[in-house]
Structures are given as C-alpha cells and as structure tokens.
Amino acid sequence: MAPLLELKNYSTHYVSARGTRVVKAVDTVSLVLNSGETLGIVGESGSGKTTLALSILRLLPMAARKTDGEILFEGEDLLKKSTEEMRQIRGKRIAMILQDPMASLNPLFTIGDQVSEPLRVHEGTPRRTAWQKATALLKAVRITAPETRVREYPHQMSGGMRQRIVGAMGIACEPRLLIADEPTTSLDLTIQAQYLALLRDLQREHGLALIFITHNLGIVAKMCDRVAVMYAGRLVEFGPVRKIFDQPRHPYTRALLQSIPRFADSRNRLTAIGGQPPDLSAPPLGCAFHPRCPDAIDRCRGEAPPETGTTNGHTVRCWVAGS
C-alpha cells in the first residue's frame, strides 16, 4: 500500500529580502507516513519542525523563497498543485493545529462560527446544519455545555478549551492527516495530558494519521508509531519508535534519550545537551552536530554525512553510526 504522505529530499530555505542571508530551515528531508499512523517530530527549538509542517500545507511565510523536492500526499505531489487545489486540500484533507492556540481564534467571531467554517466552505453545509455539527464537534473534544459555548467568543474560553476548540476545527471535515504543533507556551500538565489523550482518541475514532510536533521524547514514546529526529533542518534519524528508543543510532538521538524528563513536561526544552544549537544562517561545515558530538571524527568536520538506510525504514545521517 502506498504511504499516505511521503517526503522526498524536501527542502525549505528562508532567504532574506536582499538575498544575503539564507536559512536552510528544512534541508533534504525524506520520510514516510502511512494512513492512521502517528509520526512524532522532535528537535530543539529552531530545528525546523514548524517550517516542515507548514511546508506540507504550502503556507510558508513570505521569506521562504526556495523550496525543493517532492511532497507526495495520497500519491500526488503537493508542490505541483495549483493554489486553488491546495486551498481545497487544507482543512479538508490535511488539517493543522498551530503552535499558539491562544492566538489562533479570531476574537471577533463566535466559536460556532469558526468551528463550522471549514464545513461551510469545503462541504457547502448550510449554516444551521453546520452549527449543529459544530456543537457536536465541541462535544467530541469534551467541551462542557457545547450548546451555550458555540455562541460564545474566544476570550470567554480558557487556554485548554481554546486548544481543544482548535482541535475541533481541525477534525471538522474529517481530514486524512492532522498535524499538531505542540504549544510552546505550555498549558497545565493535567490539561496537556488530557489534550494528548483526546488527540489519540480522535485518531482512533476517525482513523486519521497524526503528525505530532514536540520537544518531548517522553510524549513520543507514548503516542507515536514513528519518530523523526530533526537537527538544524535535517532529519538525523528516522524510524519506528521502538527501534529508535531501543537502539538509537545517531549520537544526537542518544543524547536526547538520556535527557528525557521523568515526567511528561513539555516545558523541559531538551536543554540537557551541552553546547548551543547552531545558527542556521551559518551552520557548521560538515555534520551540523559535530561541535556538540562526543563521537565526532575528522571526516565529520569537513563533509556532511549522507542518509543511510537500514531495514524496516530506519535511517540515520551519521558517518560513524551509518557505516
């Protein structure tokens, strides 16, 4: 069976207005995701996770002037789609929950209006029916008293509720793929746990594939089938979650695993690794991880390692581990 989503050597570069500064935010990334599966994308702040997600939806900031490679979704290359075709895919077949749920809702419109909007636009559902569905969606994301909540405004909701409302919007048209960018401004831990449980339930009920972007490997272990570890815009290791947790190959992944917080606290930003994450506009030559890598050899400083694959889709980018 063809995978639901497949990225082949995909890159997104941010180019400054004068063209002098180039940030390779996503660099030759390849990965696959099957229907109904969950993929976790982990990496430090600034490693390119959000850029990767927005690339799939082709909603990049203006500065992202250069993209390259292929993004196959249900066998079709999204990069070859017209603007209008992409619009019809967004919210309908691929949905995304943004990193900042607090600012994601329009302050001037009711919850019902905003949750029912994808249905009205993509499926032409009449207003009344769409509102009834919106109420049902709010119920599905466990908002209490959804009948009154639909008529209320975002500022009347708590942070946890807003996050779930944005989730409700995401699943409104029953997409095949939902991308959830984990909030950086972290919510209360119990609320966070409820939210994760909710995402998992939604996935089970609707059979959707999930891409979960996080800083937290602990969450990945619980939620995901596959993991993609990003470092400085590249996938340094990618594979089934069990493989990566039992036999991590890339030195960065190993360092991450050693720094897993004991509790599922997403506020812990993977800072336990020594050294600074690289400046992406002037990354180190060779393997971008070499200044922080305990295993680095001479070759690492001069030449970037290629992606080397092994059986069952476990790949790694490292001179030492890949050979």
Binding site: N106, H155, M169
Partner: protein, 306 residues
C-alpha cells in the same frame, strides 16, 4: 457597559475643564482687544470704559470664574465685535463646517481604506509603492497649496467648478478634496499597517489553514479586525476636520466655524475664540465617546467586559 460609559464621561469632563482653562489664558496672550474695538486716537478713559463694559477690568480669577459659571448656565457670552451671542454665530456657521467635514470624510475613506487594503495585500509590490508615494504627497502637501492648485485647474483653467463660496453641491467638491486629501493619506496608512498586522496574526494563518478562499480570509477574518483602529482614527479625524478647516475655509471662502475662529483671533474676540475652541473640544470628546461605544459594539471583548 454602563460603568464603562460613566467612566469615559468623567474623563471627558476633566479634559474639558483643563481645555477651558488653557484657552482662557492663551487667548489673553494675544493682546488687548479694546485697541481693535475703538476709533484710532480714542482717549484712555474711553478705552477703560469699554474694558469695563466687556468685564476685562476684573482680575483673571474673577473673569475665569464668571466664564465658567456662564457656560454651566448655558450662556456662552456675546461677541466683542458683532455684539451678538457667540452661540448664535457658532450655530449659524456649524452646518457648513459639518457638511464640508462629512464630504471630506467620505472622500478620505473611499480613497483611504481600499488603497490601504490593496497596499497591505500587495505589500512590497507596485500598488504598495504607488500608495506610499500617494501617502507621502497627501501628508506633505500643504492644504492651501492643494486648494490653490485645484482652483487654478478646475476653476480658472477648466472653468468647471466655482472657486469660492457655498450653496450648491459643486461648491463643496474642491474644499472637500483639499481637506480630505491629507486625511485620505492618513487613513490609507493606518489601514495598511493595521491590515498588515492582522494578516500576520495566528488567526489569519489558521483561517488559511482551514482552506478558506483568500477573499474570505481578507474580508471576513482580517478586515473586520483591521478596521477597529481605522474607525477610531476616522472618528477623531471627523471632529478634527470640522475644527481644523481654518485654512481650507479661508482659501475657498467657506462660511464655517474655521473662518469664525480665524476672525475671532484676528479681532481678539475672546468670547468667540473661547467658545469656538471649547465647543470644538466638546465635539472631540463626544466623538471619542461615541467611538469607544462603537468599539464596544464591534468587539465582544469590550462589550462583554473581558
């Protein structure tokens, strides 16, 4: 909502009090009005008598107290020059000013808002740069100059429009244009920047992520939010237009309160200046109040007391 309005009212009264004090003192810096009211070569006694008649012989504190007392009673005094109640003079000129301001406002919004939206949506492209030049021209060309150019072209050269006076719809076109020109540029700039800010917001990004057509994203999700500051500025500008049209009204001989104020200052007609300024101030205050209330109507966060 009631508490909100009451609070705004209190602030308004305090600012009006400060304004009355300021204008009372400032107008007295222009000099002695009696010099302008008597025949040349009048005796010291005659001047003293007139000063006494006008109440200018009393101490400043007493003069101010009686000014405030009269105003509270609704008496705005008599013009030194015309010897008629200032309020009558003011009210007879007000409709002209309001009409001119309304016409200038319509013009400035019809030009300013759409061009601001286009500039924001096409940021960095041709229309944005074109708009920037237009805004620069609008903000930097003096009103009397725009007025004179218009007169030269449309009245003198083409002979299409009357160069001065009022009475028909044709008379208002050029003064409205000259007055609205500056504000059109200001409205364009604020629409553009407010639109840009909203277009960069997370909720607009989410609206796009939902797959909404771009037109709907801009008109529904962005514009309504972006218009809030534009509306505020327009409300305040409307009052400004009524009250700063001195130059335009003088150039086009438009019989509004701008010219009344101009005459008042020229003749050191203290009651006329004081009243005109104070009524202008009240108008600004009232419009601010109305804008705040409108705000609350548009924005549920204010309406529902967040």
């Amino acid at each position: 909502m009631k508490k909100f309005i009451l609070q705004r009212l209190t602030y308004s009264l305090i600012s009006l009090f400060l304004l009355s004090l300021t204008i009372f003192l400032f107008v007295r810096l222009t000099g002695d009005p009696t010099v302008l009211l008597v025949e040349p070569g009048a005796s010291k006694e005659d001047m003293a008598m007139i000063r006494e008649q006008l109440g200018l012989d009393r101490s400043l504190a007493v003069q101010y107290a009686s000014f405030v007392k009269d105003i509270v009673r609704g008496d705005f005094g008599k013009s030194f020059y015309y010897r008629t109640p200032v309020l009558e003079l003011y009210l007879s000129r007000l409709p002209s000013s309001l009409f001119l301001a309304a016409a200038a406002m319509v013009f400035s919004l019809v030009i300013g808002i759409p061009s601001g939206i286009i500039a924001a949506v096409k940021v960095g492209k041709f229309w944005d740069n074109f708009g920037k030049v237009f805004a620069l021209l609008g903000l930097s060309m003096p009103q009397f100059w725009v007025g004179l150019l218009l007169i030269l072209f449309f009245s003198v050269y083409l002979g299409w429009l009357p160069s001065s006076g009022s009475g028909t719809i044709w008379h208002v076109i050029m003064p409205a244009f000259a007055l609205g020109w500056f504000f059109a540029a200001a409205h364009m700039r604020i629409t553009r920047s407010s639109m840009l800010e909203v277009l960069g917001s997370e909720y607009v990004k989410l609206a796009r992520l939902k797959g909404l057509p771009e037109k709907r994203v801009i008109v529904k999700h962005a514009l309504k939010n972006a218009l809030i500051p534009v509306l505020t500025l327009a409300g305040i500008n409307l009052v400004l237009m009524v009250n700063v049209a001195v130059v335009v009204e003088t150039v086009f001989a438009w019989p509004g309160i701008g010219r009344l104020l101009y005459e008042g200052i020229a003749f050191r007609d203290f009651p006329v200046v004081q009243t005109t300024v104070l009524l202008s101030g009240s108008m600004i205050v009232v419009v601010n109040l109305v804008v705040d209330v409108l705000y609350a109507v548009i924005d549920p966060r204010i309406r529902l007391g967040a």
